[in-house]
Symmetry: C2
Subunit: 273 residues, 2 copies
Amino acid sequence: MDRRTIFFVSDQTGITAETLGQSLLTQFNGVDFKRVVLPFLNTHEKAEEAKEQINRCFQSEGVKPVVFCTFTDDEIRDVIKGSDCACFDFFETFISPLEKVLGQSSSHATGQSHGMVDVSTYNTRIDAVNFALKNDDGADVSHYDDADIILVGVSRSGKTPTCLYLALQFGINAANYPLTEEDLDLLVLPPALKKHKKKLYGLTIDPNHLQRIRQERRPDSRYSSLRQCVKEVDMAEDLLQLNQLPFLNTTTVSIEEISTTILQEAGLQRHLY
Amino acid sequence: MDRRTIFFVSDQTGITAETLGQSLLTQFNGVDFKRVVLPFLNTHEKAEEAKEQINRCFQSEGVKPVVFCTFTDDEIRDVIKGSDCACFDFFETFISPLEKVLGQSSSHATGQSHGMVDVSTYNTRIDAVNFALKNDDGADVSHYDDADIILVGVSRSGKTPTCLYLALQFGINAANYPLTEEDLDLLVLPPALKKHKKKLYGLTIDPNHLQRIRQERRPDSRYSSLRQCVKEVDMAEDLLQLNQLPFLNTTTVSIEEISTTILQEAGLQRHLY
């Protein structure tokens, strides 16, 4: 298999360069990529150091590394472009056509993305993280008025990571409530949930997969037995269907896909941080 | 101020399109952007619906909306490109030059990025989230052997959101320990931390900013008094300096910037999910 070193370089966090670069690389299965991230190259000196590192990589591997970058400063970008690499700069490629479309010059300012631009927006996000933590696992059901969404499902169906992702990436107030055996036996929604039926979204999971997850958590317990997993999942799906609640099977779905699906189906405004 | 509607469209989550699009838009301060995200456009029918929505937008606003997209399917992309918009497709722009550089054809497969590609990598991430939750706020100091990094700082200096971000986005095992008044009075690191000095990273914060954050949490308490905030921050910085621990002031820094800085300074391998 071919090998290739990939550099993600930026005058800021490099998260934009890494996000788009990784998306592109997933389209090439036949190459073994070695990834190097060089963030905060915001001076000539740092850019020169990075250039040397890229050149050393070329010399030792005999093939030009690929560099994905997002520089707003043309001079710093030129330093990197002067190295022995195949360079793709996302800003350079799109800023100029975008200036034409918008009829405006770009600000060429660094630190705009993934940075602390707007304190109030930023606080929204931190508040959302705190909301998710406080309203995790049904520990406290008294703040559901402030929730944008309430995830329901059996223990270990993916509720907590999804709530945290919704909070951190989208500033969404996401609570979650684990359906207990008692709730399931009665086949009725607990009163705290019934009051907020429009905010409820169910997560379900393949019982075999659930069994493996629970087995790691509490090995060889009733909780992690396949019989128990099958029973809980069956009853949870019955309860969700009976109440005509939307739900999603999380077995082969990533946190990003779960979160995006929920936001879309619940009609929630999405704004990525 | 000019107004413009921006569509982020994708056959998958749209997160890549949104990340790069937003980065580009932050370079244009003079335009008021209205954002619309249309994810999961993975059939002709859905693409046609999106096309109509984009065309309706053009008709009502009299100016062509900007569309950022990441389609791997050329036919679906062509539907969107046939609408009345200024279309920037990140994949179309870069895949072909990247194929030349890598000497390989791209797979044109959807669902590769932000999707469930590799179950074991995915479990690493979920395990990291669980690790962050279990090792939050010094509640349990018995798993620090498994930590990649341990954040220390006074209450509300940004430790918890940073740990969660490190876990969710990078799969890093991040614990955090709040420096208590007792620790600070003694001016010594608690034994649990001393054992893991190489993993420690300090977060500090401007006392006035800390006061405002704490005031929201516990109004008019000793905890949220400026006197207390100044005292704790001073002592915490003394303790960090005395132990020659690296630390960062989080006052005007985003979670992404804090996380990226920590990973870089601690020399931790970074792999964005």
